[in-house]
Symmetry: C2
Subunit: 690 residues, 2 copies
């Protein structure tokens, strides 16, 4: 093909494929890491603080347990990462926790995981935004003074962006995430250099505060319980680790291997940052209290309600870089930005999970269609509404919201890992290759340990946090579970009702005749078109029907009809109360009663308009009538559209809408098969002349 003819074609195809293009871009590891890791990495902005906060209940002396808790979190992180590396290898098609649990443990386990994840998406938004506002507030006081307003504003902004359909691009994620990671590492290294090499003593803004312990001299079971609670809070660092397992198809080849490597890199980064921040917090004497107003004491007096307890990461940054310095502000901004990105991942993950659930008929079918804007919008609004509600109730306080957060993640972790154990068991039953068997046994051991450990953590989280708010998350899960079960039941019932039996039934016995009726009010172009179309489709009987609501108009219609010599009989029904619907319905019923095996085909000329308000002015009677006719058995209703000039505007809008790409496409990866030419199951043949 010559170059000259190629250009217009390329432009055309480029145009036509535009909406598909995004999905076809596979992610290199350096881009995949920020795309998937903004959520887990951003949690180091709040997780270390939560650990200190809980420990402070037993007084500052309890802070010396924090390295041990950090170690426990690190071990857990390695366990979870190792476990999910098995997942991504076993399910290269992108087996998320829902799929793994459903396949291996049955639909109820799968639905439980799905409910947990849906709740978690809501909490990701609520927690990340609240924490982002707190971090931004450490640099810009206005933000923290109007915390709730800013948090709600940020959610609304994210929602609008996602409703408009911002494309999720790798770069958008890469820059803030790497900036954040680099910032934290610079801080850790510079802090270590100042402390260990220069011998500087660094002081956090709260270093000269005292913490009044709520419980003096805790020991025995009470102390263990407190340490477990601190550990539970630290587990917030693990949220979002599972996201990669959904996104394997988005990686470059070898997909599974690259995904596993990215997972490992992410785990390593997360634990390093987590431990570094804890270490710096200890070195700079950060003080955190659960109720700072009461328990944080300066010069013998509590700081009171006006005090704002800045996040650990910003206190450490103030100690290392100096409060208000360039580096301090950059890190605060990067932290806030990466937290907002983390919130944004929920906007992508929610409809993705929704589409998978819709495929299994737990949610309305239309969610299954990728890029269905309306369905996507509904999901986004639901997500945003629930997140705003939580932020409102909990005053955008990340500490209180985190109590709700971790339950869902660990439900998903535990069930997914248990499912993986079953997966390996099943494969071991048939696998004969000894090398592969050894590999599988090793994987099973990892997953079994993962299941055990995450299950243990789940019990710990439930035990230590239930009354602190975890019950809210459980309630949310129950509601999602119940709704989805009900939807599935409805679909199953309908499927049974409409299933075609093999015996001849109403539907397979061919009805005898078709009686066509064209509804007519005036002889204008839409009516003439409907009459022409109805004649073209050959039926056994064809008549035009007009309802006499105004004698003058009816007379004019009749005269026009005869003048034009239209060869279709015109029937006129009187309607003393100027109703349109009832006389038509009654007439159709009479026809059906006279000849029960006839099918009545009703043609309705319809205006196609371009603006919503024009709908109020047109077609209302037609719509009402159509709605009623559909309830009448043996009737079909044909709309014969007439495109008014104003409909051009709506056509353009509809086309633009069709080319819209749903956010979340990057992480979903491309679909397997490519677009092919339409193909026929039977050879084409003219039909219907018989």
């Amino acid at each position: 093909m010559s170059k000259l003819t190629d250009v217009p074609k390329r432009i055309l195809i480029g145009q036509a494929l535009r909406s598909d293009k995004l999905g076809e871009t596979l992610l290199p590891k350096r881009i995949a890491l920020p795309v998937f890791a903004s959520d887990p990495l951003s949690s180091v902005a709040y997780a270390p603080g939560e650990v200190l906060l809980v420990l402070s209940i037993a007084g500052v002396s309890a802070y010396h347990f924090s390295p041990w808790i950090a170690v426990a979190v690190v071990v857990l992180m390695f366990t979870v990462v190792a476990s999910y590396r098995q997942n991504v290898r076993a399910y290269p098609s992108g087996g998320g926790d829902y799929e793994v649990a459903t396949t291996n443990l049955g639909p109820k386990a799968g639905l439980t995981v799905a409910s947990a994840l849906l709740v978690d998406y809501v909490l990701t938004v609520a927690v990340s935004i609240s924490s982002g506002v707190e971090n931004l507030g450490s640099a810009i006081p206005f933000v923290v003074e109007h915390k709730l307003l800013c948090a709600v504003g940020a959610i609304v902004l994210l929602t609008l962006m996602n409703l408009r359909g911002v494309k999720e691009s790798g770069k958008l994620f890469a820059i803030p995430t790497y900036l954040f990671v680099a910032g934290v590492f610079v801080m850790i290294l510079w802090g270590a250099f100042r402390g260990l090499v220069l011998g500087d003593t660094m002081h956090a803004p709260t270093s000269d505060y005292e913490v009044r312990p709520e419980h003096q001299g805790l020991a025995g079971f009470a102390l263990v319980f407190l340490l477990l609670r601190a550990f539970s809070s630290g587990c917030a660092a693990l949220t979002g680790v599972e996201a990669i397992s959904n996104g394997v198809p988005a990686f470059r080849k070898p997909k599974s291997k690259n995904a596993a490597t990215t997972l490992a890199a992410m785990g390593l980064l997360a634990v390093t940052m987590f431990c570094g921040i804890i270490a710096l917090a200890m070195a700079t004497d950060v003080k955190m209290a659960e109720n700072p107003a009461k328990d944080l004491v300066r010069d013998g007096t509590p700081v009171g309600a006006g005090f704002v307890q800045d996040p650990v990461i910003s206190q450490v940054a103030a100690a290392v870089f100096g409060d208000g310095t360039f580096f301090f502000v950059v890190l605060a901004a990067a932290t806030a930005l990466v937290l907002f990105l983390a919130a944004n991942t929920a906007y992508n993950g929610f409809p993705l999970l929704g589409s998978i659930l819709a495929q299994d008929r737990y949610l309305p079918r239309q969610l299954h269609t990728r890029g269905d804007r309306l369905a996507f919008s509904n999901g986004i609004v639901l997500l945003a509404g629930a997140a705003i509600l939580l932020v409102w109730i909990y005053g955008a306080d990340s500490t209180r919201l985190i109590q709700l957060y971790i339950v869902g993640v660990f439900v998903a972790f535990t069930l997914s890992q248990t499912g993986m154990v079953r997966h390996w068991n099943r494969h071991l039953r048939t696998e004969r290759d000894q090398a592969k068997r050894r590999h599988m046994v090793r994987s099973r051991a990892i997953n079994a340990f993962g299941a055990f450990f995450t299950g243990l953590v789940l019990v710990v989280v439930l035990a230590t946090k239930f009354s602190h708010g975890a019950w809210v998350a459980l309630l949310g899960m129950v509601i999602f579970f119940g709704t989805m079960t009900a939807i599935r039941k409805h679909y199953d019932r309908v499927a049974e009702e409409i299933a075609a039996s093999d015996e001849p039934s109403d539907e397979t016995i061919r009805p005898s005749r078709v009686h066509s009726i064209v509804l007519v009010s005036k002889l204008h172009r839409p009516t003439l078109r409907a009459l022409a179309y109805a004649k073209l489709v050959r039926s056994d009987q064809l008549e035009a029907l007009s309802i006499n609501v105004d004698p003058d108009e009816t007379k004019a219609l009749r005269e026009d009809w005869e003048r034009r010599g239209i060869d279709i009989p015109l029937k006129i029904l009187d309607s003393p109360y100027r109703e349109v619907t009832r006389p038509v319905i009654d007439y159709v019923k009479t026809l059906r009663k006279d000849r029960p095996r006839d099918v009545i085909s009703v043609y309705i000329p319809e205006y196609v308009v371009g603006h919503w308000y024009e709908h109020l002015l047109h077609n209302q009677s037609a719509l009402r009538l159509k709605g009623r006719l559909l309830f009448t058995p043996g009737v079909m209703v044909t709309s014969v559209p007439y495109q008014l000039e104003s409909s051009e505007a709506a056509k353009v809008r509809a086309r633009r809408r069709a080319n819209w790409t749903a956010p979340g496409s990057v992480r979903r990866g491309p679909v397997e098969r490519r677009h092919r030419e339409p193909r026929d199951a039977h050879p084409r043949e003219p039909h219907g002349k018989g």
Copy 2:
């Protein structure tokens, strides 16, 4: 026919005619009076007070002008009544002010009247409810302490009642209206008896108060202006007089004569009550002030903001019967009730006028259908919303609301009477019978005087009240006028666009072939039905089309298709992004491009469900697709409904809705022609075999 077979038939017919029955009950005068007069009669509850209130600006000494103002109001009332007696005679079909103005003065005048009346309906609700609450409050202090809340609550209650569709029955109106009239007459007679015969001195609760004049010793033009303002306020007694002229068809025969008699009776009752109350107010030394808190003085000190100024009628009742006595409470209750009924008349009048305006295409066509519940509901909600807004803004203060009220009525009066003069002029041009001519000349004189007098009052009202609030009413009229003009323009533009020319056009040239496509996802009953129907309607080409969103489902469909041996070719289109709409649209466009004169007929199997939430679970993709297909020229879309079991519930609801009677039927009267058997314009003949 035997009696036995008659019974079931009568039951059936009785059932079938139920919704028509109401309209067929013609009103005797004794019922027609309360139905139409609750609005004008109830205004004597506030009109006398408004007169005193305005006069008080010049001090109590100005009260001695009140009899003269009463006389002016009486003369005006007789003029208006006499004028409308000509209307009901000239337009026995129920020529309301809108019709009279449109017919005789042209559409712009008609639309002005319509706008004025629509604004007036809103104000009738706002003023009557506010005044009703004030009257009820004179007996039950709680009501007046929570005036705004009670007023809004009453409007909401009325709205809900009307949305549910309470039937307007003559009795409902008769009892409170006659109770009110009787109560006022007993009060006037008993007061006259006590004062004139027994020689009692009766004291109103405010008799020993003083009024501090805002302007001492007004004279000359300022005094005349004040008197004119007092007169304008008194004109509130005339609102609603025009209602009978819409309702002539609801009267028993001789309709016009009975309507005229009822009008006269109503006028007589109204002026007697109005004058009686003014006289009693003077005799019992009622004091009213425009700003009671400041200008009403007791023992030298203003009464202050906590003082509640009771309506004149209740102050007079307290003086005549004694405060809190049985008669006092009964009269207060009857007054409140008749005022609520007056507000209710607006709920009936608003959709009635809307239906007439819709017929002239100033409002959406579907409003024209009598008893169209949805359209009716929209009108009711609009009316209630506007009334609540006004009540809210003006603090449910009837005095402030009345400033807005009278403009609209007098615009309607003046234009209607001017129109009547033209009406007689036109008839006099052709009438030769001398007796009839004399009668017409006399009628013309009455209407001319009516037009002159009401026009003068309109000027007075505008001059004295413009800055007090009449501008709000004018603004409302302008908004209604503008909206309705825009709607009419839109309809006219569309009518021009779709008008069929006599030359052959796209619509009259018969398209060449029809290519039918049945959309298929699975082979269940709805699909089988759609396939059977599509085959029955013979088209030139018929094929089934399925979109491959899931390879397994598509494979199952293909196998099922072959197993059942369906003789329709099945085409399968791939959709890599699981979209349904786009591949279908693209395919249809390709077909159209290949054979531009083909018509594409798309059959969509649809589920008919019974609950709104089921709509979320079904047909969404079908609806979306249908919406997009309608924008494609040369396409028709056929819905083949499959009634799910749950649709039974909706069918029952729809039937109930169809039997619903719109409030306002009583005053509208029955329509002229009766329900006839369907008749054919052409003899019936089988058609479409050719």
